[in-house]
């Protein structure tokens, strides 16, 4: 009897924190943008917004797997740099090259991810250090390959995924190909997620990032079993595969600005700094770096929050805010249970 009363009384109290604050933040930010810039609330404005954040969203999907296993990946940005530069130089404005360059770049992503995964899982090098080394190495490779100069050109066939919109549709009016890519990726990741969307939780204890408890069990990307280093390795590999894929789409200057991916070759290092901004914070926000939990729905909120937060002032006519602070906010949001 007494127990029943207690449990009934406790329930409403528990309910409130169950709403992840990221949701509230996203709604508030989007409303704020719409108030300041009504065009954003229209379907075309929102579709363009999704188009621009699609690359970031996909990238953060890869980052999530790494962060969930207690690691961090600094080399995402330089993977993008290398693949964008490589694509541009190899393509050299030849429309027919797209078909072999995209698989090649995905392959480069896989190789980089495999090396990172092996170094972290088997050589036991902390992920920050291992991927920092990879980041510097890849930048060096990109620099040597290109001579530090913008070269080559991306043909329109290559940029199709990032740039083109299906026009004249009812209700949404335009549907960018990038958004289709985003939805497909989201669906794949969702499907690959552990049954029931259960998060990959790490056990407590600050030293125990290998001591992951359940999850991702028996999925091909590797689970969180701390006794099986191959699991983490799998997560790095996935992270890089996605980063590589993303880099490909991006290189098309693809998705308009897709997280600087579309930088084509004018800047010799497109993708620079993407290891911190913008891919990690959404992933981090989702995974919760200190004993947190992560699902792709968390991640989606994370990236939408971040994108909205950084975009709002631009849409309103102001200069971009200090992005680092927004990222910090996203990360801290993710840590709120």
């Amino acid at each position: 009897m007494t127990q029943d009363v207690l449990s009934q009384g406790a329930e409403p109290r528990r309910r409130l924190p169950q709403i992840n604050p990221v949701y509230i933040l996203v709604v508030v930010l989007i409303l704020a943008i719409v108030v300041m810039n009504p065009a954003f609330g229209e379907p075309t404005g929102y579709m363009n917004y999704l188009k621009r954040v699609a690359a970031l969203a996909i990238l953060s999907g890869g980052a999530l797997y790494v962060i969930i296993s207690g690691g961090f990946d600094l080399s995402v940005g330089s993977t993008m740099t290398l693949t964008v530069i490589g694509s541009s130089m190899l393509a050299s404005n030849d429309p027919n090259s797209t078909y072999w360059i995209i698989p090649l770049m995905l392959g480069i992503g896989v190789v980089i991810g495999v090396i990172n995964g092996l170094v972290v899982s088997y050589l036991k090098v902390p992920s920050l250090i291992a991927t920092l080394g990879m980041m510097i190495s890849l930048n060096g490779v990109a620099f040597m390959w290109s001579g530090g100069a913008p070269r080559g050109y991306l043909p329109d066939t290559f940029r199709f995924f990032g740039r083109y919109n299906i026009a004249d549709l009812p209700v949404i009016s335009i549907l960018p190909i990038a958004v289709i890519c985003l939805v497909v990726f989201g669906a794949i990741l969702w499907w690959r997620q552990p049954a029931g969307g259960a998060p990959c939780r790490r056990s407590g204890g600050t030293h125990s990032h290998l001591r992951l408890r359940r999850l991702f069990a028996h999925r091909s990307f590797g689970g969180c079993d701390p006794r099986r280093p191959g699991r983490r390795f799998g997560q790095y590999r996935l992270g890089f595969r996605i980063a590589g894929h993303h880099g490909r789409g991006d290189r098309g200057r693809t998705i308009a600005r897709w997280a600087r991916l579309g930088a084509r070759h004018h800047r010799w290092r497109p993708g620079a700094r993407s290891h911190l901004h913008p891919a990690q914070p959404p992933g981090t926000g989702a995974a919760g770096p200190v004993g947190g939990a992560g699902t792709h729905s968390h991640r989606c909120r994370g990236f939408r929050h971040l994108s909205a937060a950084t975009r709002r002032p631009m849409s309103a006519g102001a200069r971009p805010p200090g992005c680092p602070s927004q990222q910090g906010l996203t990360i801290s949001r993710g840590r709120i249970p």
Partner: protein
């Protein structure tokens, strides 16, 4: 008391620093001079614009005469944009035309002031250079390094971007940044009604030839009664350029985009296309991708140029200096043509790469077009 002295000292240093290196990027006299030069006459062969020069002033270089072979040293701000890639190819091909140049030493500063200052120090310390060519990364930061090089007794040739010292033998440059800004702004003003809205896109701050492009154009827009929607720095990044234009488009119409350099002009054009707007006036430069986009889409374009043939001229100036021959100076002002609709087709060459700059003055060189990535 100590605090007062300290505060006074800090204040003094700050004030001193602000006056010590404060290049004037908005000089009406220079603006007027360049406007005149744009249409003025040039000396030298008309079919070789890289040898032409404005005015009659020459510098005596007999003191620098030296027997060949020479070591020509070049401190380069970077090859980090397509314009510089084309220019550097012009330069290396020009070096091949001069058998007296025994060694050509190139130091690439990769767009860093600090590295370029160190590069110049290294080149001077090496003691092998017979002449030093400098293309400064930024104006104020590189002035002391150039002064130091002059003080070492080496003949110094500065080209492209400038420094605030007259110590070099000559400073090779086209008419200048004001001229570029004028050419683009004239076109905008002629095609946009008074009260129209102009978005100004710039690469980066602090470089004299870019600052003056903007200040000249800004003054002209204000005088013509145009509204400047904003001035944004793109960092030469296509993706950033496109998103900036998209953001402005969401807030309202844009009647013209004025650009201080054309490398990202196609990205600006695509922002209009992808949002379903007609492309308004978008200024650019002589880069092939822009010229072709302009022709294909048919918007009201214009391509002021900052010709890459000046990279050839820098070598020619160095060679003439070491021969002890007179060179135009203290400024060697080259012609700075503008590509308009009437002459657009002359400058489009589908066989050259999209990032090639048409005004290279390189068509008469032995390795053209292969060395620039073109096909026969």
């Amino acid at each position: 008391m100590k605090k007062t002295i300290l505060a006074a000292a800090v204040l003094g240093m700050l004030t001193g620093a602000s006056f010590a290196q404060a290049p004037n990027f908005d000089d009406p006299a220079e603006f007027a001079k360049q406007r005149e030069q744009l249409t003025g006459a040039f000396n030298g062969p008309a079919d070789k614009p890289y040898l032409q020069y404005a005015g009659e002033a020459m510098v005596d270089t007999s003191g620098f005469k030296k027997d060949a072979p020479w070591t020509v040293c070049f401190s380069n701000a970077g090859v980090n944009n397509p314009w510089r890639v084309v220019g550097y190819t012009d330069m290396t091909e020009e070096v091949k035309l001069h058998p007296e140049i025994g060694t050509f030493t190139h130091a690439d500063a990769e767009g860093s002031d600090d590295k370029q200052i160190a590069d110049i120090d290294d080149l001077l310390a090496g003691g092998n250079c017979d002449v030093l060519i400098v293309s400064p990364n930024s104006t104020a930061a590189l002035t002391p390094a150039v002064e130091k090089a002059c003080a070492s007794g080496l003949p110094v040739i500065v080209f492209d971007r400038g420094v605030t010292t007259n110590c070099p033998v000559t400073f090779v440059h086209p008419v200048g940044g004001y001229g570029f800004g004028i050419q683009a702004a004239d076109h905008v003003i002629a095609n946009v009604a008074s009260g129209g809205k102009v978005l100004m896109l710039r690469i980066s701050p602090g470089v004299d030839v870019l600052e003056t492009r903007a200040s000249g154009a800004r003054n002209m827009f204000k005088e013509a009664g145009l509204t400047i929607l904003g001035e944004e720095f793109t960092g030469g990044d296509n993706a950033k350029t496109k998103s900036i234009v998209e953001d402005y488009l969401q807030r309202g119409a844009i009647d013209a985009v004025w650009m201080d350099a054309g490398a990202t002009a196609v990205a600006a054009v695509e922002a209009f296309e992808d949002q379903g707007f007609d492309v308004p006036v978008v200024t650019g430069e002589d880069q092939q991708d822009y010229l072709q986009k302009w022709r294909d889409v048919g918007f009201k374009g214009v391509a002021p140029t900052y010709p890459t043939y000046q990279w050839r001229t820098a070598i020619i100036a160095a060679v003439n200096t070491l021969k002890g021959e007179q060179v135009p100076g203290p400024e060697w002002v080259l012609p700075q043509p503008v590509i308009t609709q009437d002459v657009l087709d002359q400058y489009i060459n589908e066989k050259m790469p999209p990032l090639h700059y048409a005004m290279c003055g390189c068509e008469d060189m032995p390795n053209y077009p292969q060395a620039w990535g073109g096909s026969q």
